[in-house]
Amino acid sequence: MIFLWAFLIGGLICVFGQLLMDTTKWTPGHIMTFLVVIGVVLGGIGVYDPLIKFAGAGATVPITSFGNALVHGALSEAKMHGWIGLITGIFEVTSAGISAAIIFGFFASVVFRAKG
């Protein structure tokens, strides 16, 4: 069942992004940025985690989940250590994504050649 919801929710988030691409002047870069910020807002409100429970990877795989992870990192660290946690906690939860992108991106540049 969760596979169905993963497919539907993930697909819908992508359709939203596609419609933005086709009806506005926004580039894919703008849209990824916009979706991350939406993820931050939804995560800040507390709505994104229930979505993850419900749709699984349909909510964790889209870039919106990055935003959710960033804001949760800030909030949970702030709960433990006060206001400074807003700055120290941001990358706690999402470090897998950013580290992986840098590490694998770098190794890709070593191994592969641009094909044009």
Partner: protein, 339 residues
Amino acid sequence: MGHIGAQTWEFPRKPVIVATATVVGPKEGEGPLRESFDKVYTDLYMGEKSWERAERALLHDAVTICLEHAKINSSDVQMMLAGDLTNQIISSTFTARTFGTPFMGQFGACSVSMQTLGLAALLVDSEFAKNVVAAAVSHSSTAERQFRYPTEYGGQKPPTAQCTVTGAGAALIAHQGTGPRIALATMGKVIDLGVSSPWEMGAAMAPAAVDTLTCHFRDTGYSWNDYDLVATGDLGSVGHRIAIDLLKEHSIAPDERFVDCGMMIYRKDQAEVFSGGSGAGCSAVVSYGYLLRQLSEGRMKRMLIVATGALLSTVTSLQGESIPCIAHAVTIEREGEYQ
């Protein structure tokens, strides 16, 4: 003779295009004009280490083959005029370094093929040079990484986008010899009607093409009937249609002799062609490889090639500026017809 009308040069001695050469990449080599090109690379890197060096290799080969066809050395060339799309036109400057001829780099974006050809004719006709090389080159990957995105980036391009041609065309212009002759050149003004999307270059360039074309007709008194063919450089299917409609509004509706090099160089079923080819090399390889053959093989008598260029930079499009464009036109005749 000399300057006629508002923007046109008439060449009384009609300089001769004694030799040409065209060198292209794999996609162009699989296109409908593949038999017209002198050399086709199957490797997009042309055996080089970087895209920039690959573009240089294309131009180097084109000039080399051109000089071979003309049976002269680079030491016999009094001037090389070349241009491309790279920042500081490095493909042209670094190639000129190899040949060691006097050199004037030209920038006209994709209009540079006819810009260099017209200027070469001027130098030869005015007897300030005996042999002049005019050349232009572009490469799909150098254009992509400079103007748009890394080449492996998965962004989606709209149907109005164009595909930068990987190719170089070179011509040798002299005051005597056998070959098609340059009769006139109309050099364009910068025209900007407010198109700002880099995905809509055809629409941005169409007004410039129409402006230069109408000016040419006014200056010379010629009409469509005086030409067997009028070819724009790279308006693509969308820009070409817009140009046709603009000409209709000017009451000089074109017929099927009005074509576009960008629409001729690829088949519609080739991957990622979008609305057609573009790039400084597009009009160069199609003109020097295919169109001039229609003259030298006797199928046509006179043609007009209107190369179009979009004069934007990576910075201007980010700063919200629109895209100013330009078009340069050159009249080329079959030898022996209109002496």
